[in-house]
Assembly symmetry: C2
Homo-oligomer: 222 residues x 2
């Protein structure tokens, strides 16, 4: 990177931090818990959202903002579950930015409890951009391998929660849950770790209970 | 993106294209086939290289350049197979650039047949950077889902070969091989598609034969 590139990047990040802070303030004033979901493509973010939509039915109101390079596919999957969803297509950019969220926000109902933001599938770039979330959740799916935290450290050091996803595939894979967990916790000792499968339901009750509790904390201060 | 950002990006890409063209010229003069491997984290690039190392033993000489954000892990795995390997750690950047390859190249033996370059695990950013390769190979692993080509189009439109990897996991997953293949071919009709598993060996003979043939073409012109 040249000096000029560094200055341009600093400008972008400063603008992003200001937009993110405004979004966080606005959402928390309304008692809404915002969650930024981060992972590689195909780690199971949308399938997790579909499973959460079913589990939250009657318990909490949710909305979803989807980020993708192209296509409306993920928003369509979430809407099919009866959840309001907005699709942002970045047209090439490898991550969402706070300003993109800010543009959609006026359309999002104000009486929801949770706003999930599914980032572009990418374990690198999204880690550098605060979207105004309260919780950053990174998914690492068992087929990806247990060696990923140290290879892609920023996603893990900046997250609040780690979901070891697609746990149902463990019998067919060499993934070592304890190794992945230990490596992620070595990078970030504050990580809350859940082993989950949206298909078998493993770990989903614990994760839902955690989210409801985190939302109660926000609401009690709103 | 502001106008200033666009100009900076154009400068970077122009510099990269020149460096890539020089690398391609140099390698092809030596009769070396360079292959740029692209995929999400955990799609099986390193495991594929380990399997290729075994299959090429006695048939062809190979070397590997590994790209990662952090750690020397992938280069160590490849070296354990008796293959010379260099690790580039980008320290945060989400893709390799031709200049990084150019720096390593003087150390790479000149009497090899294949130079594999394993890019940073990322289905977005690496697609924009020519590394001087002759063949760009994108891996899409079955656990990632058959809906990925249209969601991450550039990786598929710029590739020469698509490997549908981890084919051995098909019995446990809803991945539709024909759907993924059709969607990728709709984006890029020139793609050569192989269904492979480095674990079961499925499709590996065909892929190895294809590589040996492509290398013969380069060598006959060198």
């Amino acid at each position: 990177m040249t000096k000029k590139d560094v200055f341009v990047l600093q400008d972008i990040l400063l603008g992003n931090a200001q937009a993110a802070a405004a979004i966080r303030r606005e959402l928390e004033t309304r008692g809404i818990l915002a969650i930024n979901l981060l992972s590689s493509p195909g780690a199971g973010k949308t399938t997790l959202l579909e499973a959460l939509a079913d589990r939250f039915k009657g318990l909490a109101r949710i909305a979803v903002i989807e980020g993708d390079i192209e296509t409306e596919r993920d928003a369509e999957r979430v809407r099919a579950k009866g959840v309001p969803a907005w699709q942002i297509t970045t047209g090439g950019a490898c991550h969402l930015e706070a300003k993109m969220i800010g543009k959609v926000l006026p359309e999002v109902p104000t009486d929801i409890d949770f706003l999930f933001i599914e980032n572009v599938g990418n374990l690198v770039c999204p880690a550098g951009y605060d979207l105004g979330e309260r919780l950053r959740v990174v998914l690492l799916s068992t087929p990806e391998g247990d060696d990923k935290p140290k290879k892609y450290p920023k996603a893990f050091t900046t997250a609040d929660v780690l979901l070891l996803s697609k746990a149902d595939l463990r019998p067919y894979l060499p993934f070592d849950i304890e190794k992945a967990k230990a490596e992620a916790l070595a990078l970030n000792p504050k990580l809350r770790v859940f082993v989950v499968s949206a298909v078998s339901g493993e770990g989903m009750d614990e994760f839902v209970a955690f989210l409801l509790n985190a939302r109660r904390e926000i609401a009690s201060r709103a």
